[in-house]
């Protein structure tokens, strides 16, 4: 899986992109977030604290946190968008 972070999520975690082999216990976006929060090597717990302010896209489409994910997916986390 490729995981992307944008805006303040990117700043808090400290990287914009990372690769991860999907752990067997992770089948949904929500489980991926829970898995990341357990990892203390980066500030995931801080970044994902305001979950209601975080949007997720899988393969460039908006999805909800119960969306199933595969190892080949591109998963992006970001705050509500503010373009235009």
């Amino acid at each position: 899986m490729k995981i992307l972070y944008f805006a303040w999520l990117r700043q808090r975690i400290g990287v914009g992109a990372e690769d991860l082999n999907k752990p067997a216990c992770v089948t949904t976006v929500g489980e991926l977030v829970a898995y990341l929060i357990e990892d203390k090597s980066k500030a995931y717990a801080t970044a994902f604290r305001e979950m209601e302010a975080i949007r997720v896209a899988v393969n460039q489409e908006y999805v909800s946190f119960d969306r199933q994910i595969e190892n080949g997916d591109e998963i992006a986390f970001f705050p509500p968008v503010t373009g235009g």
Partner: protein, 146 residues
């Protein structure tokens, strides 16, 4: 047509190109969005985006507008990178035989672009950097078109 670019754009040239050589277009409507600095405190704005998703979402929005209104041309240009107050950020333009179709489609496109296109604004003031919060009114504006 979708263009996502760092450089500025030429509104007059872009709009003229939409109707160039055609005689069945009666109306061209455009929306230009500019970096606004109500309080005079913004020194710089940086637009971050998610390139693969931006292109995909904007192309989907164009297709949705073309399905809903009889449009001859659709143009969306969105800049990213560093901008200053007063700079152009975005141009949305629609061309149609009929003016109401052009107005509604242009309004629809910018409303949805604001809530769906993956761009984020970072404002730099004397006090430091702040990520601009999403505006509740934008979601309401987009929902009108459902």
């Amino acid at each position: 047509m979708i263009k996502v670019q760092e450089q500025d754009f030429d509104v007059g040239g872009e709009l003229a190109a939409m109707a160039d050589g055609k005689t069945d277009i009666g109306a061209v409507v455009s929306f230009t969005g500019l970096v606004r600095d109500g309080g005079g405190s913004i020194r710089k704005m940086t637009l971050e985006h998610y390139p693969a998703m931006t292109e995909k979402r904007l192309a989907e929005l164009e297709a949705a507008a073309r399905k809903r209104w009889p449009l001859d041309e659709v143009l969306i240009i969105h800049r990213h990178g560093e901008l200053s107050p007063g700079d152009r950020i975005v141009l949305v333009a629609t061309a149609s035989a009929h003016r109401q179709a052009a107005f509604e489609a242009c309004n629809y496109l910018i409303d949805w672009l604001k809530t769906e296109a993956p761009f984020w604004k970072l404002e730099e003031t004397q006090l430091g950097e702040t990520w601009v919060d999403a505006h509740d009114g934008d979601a309401a504006a987009a929902a009108r078109w459902k």
